[in-house]
Symmetry: C2
Subunit: 493 residues, 2 copies
């Protein structure tokens, strides 16, 4: 087989095929610029059999001595086009055999036709999982993929139209996590075809076209030709722009992370952002910090819009000390005095505890302690959450539970009973909070609602009461909460 080597490049130089030489030089400088390959690296190349991956494999094969690395070719069969798929595998396999490097291929273990998300997304995930599996099996360092500059430009346009903001405009990263490398990201599609033609290499109709979305195809075949009428260099300009944006995006991320590392508290999945230092940040960094923390909390930023970020920043700057914003995926951002807490809205299970008598009991459902004791007098200085009852009216076991449909309670100065649901509605307590409010039940009837402090009038301690029962409910605080509530209570004075 006729392969490119130093001698080949020399002979091409004589023929003045500068374009061919430029293609090799571009790949080389892409590798150097992004520090893609290190001495002794073992690299898994994803080869679909299409022009990009064939060019990638061939160029890398011929640069392997220049950069001192080893190659493994890996082909993933999607199993979506019976007949065609096998032909493709056969084609790649026989080509790789000629290069005398290891070849791995896989038919999907599970049918990727069914499952969550789009077919394209599932195929992509299965392909990446396979490549990663091959990388681990071979103890390899990198996975090389055949994205080119046109893919880059198409991605930038697609994301620009989608409104993905700066992080989207940076496009496909030349290196991701130090593992995924894209050595031909600096080549235009026509460079790839030119290379293949000059080397007399064959390729299959790129199977990745099959999992391209309709939008990408329209952008490639319709929109980009139109944009070229306005700017013939649109591909390289978009690629260049995304490179600069990628660089600056990284800088912003680094700054945001630095600030978070020295200012933000993390505990038990809750994130605590101190409001005062945050207010001093540059607007751009404020946006980045909020995005960074949301991503940290949610694991992604799907369905988070610019408006969400702005609402949170407005909340921080607003005068109201206690507010909350409800975001997608059950995320709640709470302003608690000088802190902003990123937490998850928890769907509380129903809970029901029988309290046999005096003592201290832990209620794990609401992460709280309940303390029941006999006392001699009502101590008015006692804290919130502590109630005093006429002990003679109480029969143990009492019950601590959350609300049930039809619950009623007799309140002070009222004849008859009132529906607990109506109390909640009157007080505008949101549905998910209602389920977390502990109710004290005695003899099968609700007699006290914690937090909103409503008590059945018959149980109150009166001058004639002989025995007083003190029941205190105290939330077990994590160190983060301790810290924040200490500040909060200090703020309340």
């Amino acid at each position: 087989m006729d392969l490119i080597g130093q001698s080949y490049i020399t002979s091409m130089k004589k023929k003045q095929d500068l374009r061919f030489i430029n293609i090799i030089t571009t790949v080389k400088s892409t590798i150097i610029k992004h520090d893609m390959i290190r001495l002794g690296d073992r690299i898994v190349v994803g080869v679909s059999g299409g022009p990009d991956s064939m060019c990638l494999l061939h160029v890398l094969y011929n640069l392997r001595e220049h950069f001192h690395f080893e190659l493994i070719a890996a082909h993933f069969e999607h199993g979506l086009r019976p007949g065609e798929d096998e032909k493709e595998t056969e084609f790649v396999s026989s080509f790789v055999k000629g290069l005398r490097i290891p070849f791995e291929y896989q038919r999907p273990v599970r049918d990727i036709k069914n499952g969550q998300g789009s077919l394209e997304e599932r195929a992509r995930l299965a392909r990446y999982a396979f490549l990663e599996e091959v990388r681990k099996r071979y103890n390899a360092h990198k996975i090389a993929l055949g994205h080119n500059m046109n893919d880059q430009a198409e991605t930038v346009i697609m994301r620009l139209l989608r409104g993905s903001g700066i992080s989207g405009l940076k496009g496909i990263p030349p290196v991701r996590d130090g593992v995924i490398i894209r050595p031909i990201i600096g080549l235009r599609r026509d460079d790839v075809l030119y290379y293949l033609q000059k080397r007399g290499l064959q390729y299959m109709k790129d199977s990745s076209n099959a999992d391209e979305t309709f939008l990408r195809n329209r952008i490639r075949h319709k929109l980009i030709p139109i944009l070229k009428q306005y700017q013939p260099n649109v591909i390289s300009i978009l690629s260049r722009t995304s490179e600069i944006i990628g660089m600056e995006d990284d800088f912003m991320e680094v700054r945001a992370r630095e600030w978070v590392d020295t200012n933000v508290l993390f505990k038990d999945g809750i994130i605590g952002l101190p409001i005062h230092p945050f207010k001093g940040l540059h607007t751009a960094l404020k946006n980045r910090v909020i995005r960074y923390l949301l991503k940290k909390r949610m694991g992604h930023l799907r369905r988070i819009s610019y408006e969400h970020i702005n609402a949170i920043i407005d909340m921080i700057h607003g005068k109201r000390p206690n507010m909350e914003a409800h975001l997608p995926y059950n995320i709640v951002v709470r302003k608690v005095y000088n802190w902003l807490l990123f937490d998850e809205k928890k769907e509380l299970e129903d809970f029901y505890y029988e309290i046999p008598g005096h003592g201290k009991y832990y209620l794990d459902a609401i992460n709280s302690w309940i303390i029941v004791e006999q006392v001699n007098s009502v101590n008015e200085t006692d804290k919130e959450g502590v109630i005093f009852l006429d002990a003679d009216m109480i029969e143990f076991p009492v019950v601590i539970r959350n609300m049930r449909a039809g619950d009623r309670i007799a309140l002070w100065g009222m004849d008859g009973h009132k529906k607990i649901k109506d109390i909640f509605i009157d007080m505008k307590i949101p549905l998910d909070v209602r389920r977390a409010i502990p109710i004290l039940e005695n003899k099968g009837l609700p007699i006290y609602l914690w937090y909103i402090n409503k008590m059945d009038n018959r149980y109150k301690v009166r001058s004639k009461s002989n025995n007083i029962l003190k029941i205190g409910l105290r939330m077990e605080k994590t160190p983060l909460w301790e810290h924040i509530y200490k500040e909060a209570s200090h703020a309340i004075g």
Copy 2:
């Protein structure tokens, strides 16, 4: 005249004309968000008579009590379309008269048809100069212009296609220099037309169309409708993207400026960048710092490409201690050991000095001192620039001058003379440097070339020489240069 006021908005609310209310709300929040107007501001509104500026004037007129500001309407007549121009002025004038606010207009003092740059650019500059002049005359604080969100999106696309990088993508700033404000930048063009229609307001075919470039018109009327097929919200998405990019661009600029302020030396128009601390910066900030310094040195960044910036950064990181890069507009960036100097390539005038005898003389053309003295021996430890001659061969006055066509010199070990031009060519000395090299002339003939250290063999001090003449050439250093050369000579060791 029927004008919008609070009562009007209330009545519209009853009619559920939410779109109209949203338009007012959008302008209000744009003003607040960008802190465009302060209590008691006096604002000059540029009114062309087209839909945007008519809408702007009318909205501002009706918000003037809400935000407590005063208005002056100013109309600039380009004088490019005889007949039509006067009609437009008449239209704007009579409308403004109805509002009972001051009205200013101007026909161009000088014919803007002729001059440097494009007609559009000249018209724009003349218009801005007029508005600024009105602002000063009225002691006003702001100039309000009627750019809308479509203008913004068109600008972003135009610059994206031009490859203007991030600073281009940020588009039209809502506020520039605290003076130019654009209160309707948040309105789409169809909002503007809707507003005018609802208020029964007339307008002229926007005269700004006349100074729109062909490219902008094509983008507006052809490309944007195509992009809308891909993304119906393309206008607001581009506007939003440019807002975020603008914010982050500002952050990057602030960081770059901060770094420059504490690290870079400025003296006599020369900029000195210390290389060691620069190398530690994030890549994105490196780019920004170089761009910032070039802009500082050149006053603009025209014709400066990403490649220029990269070349400079590569030069900094390269191993060669002394290099220079030649940029457009005669800017030279020199690497002098641990410093990078941004300077202008100076076209040196011819110079010619007669030195009458012993003594110290200042040669202002080359900013240097020449010292002529009688000495007893050749001191080998003497510095560069100092020469020793057989004094008996010299006849005063000697001459210090730069090269002339036809100059020849007799060198060591050579029979006959050699053309000085050929010496320069052999040594690959660039043309502009040749003109700066001082030549010592005796009895009408060149006998020594400084810097490249070539001497006519007959003048050298020999064992038989009775008298020795020492001539030293020393460049007058500015403090910046002193500093840098001290480091440089330390580096040479």
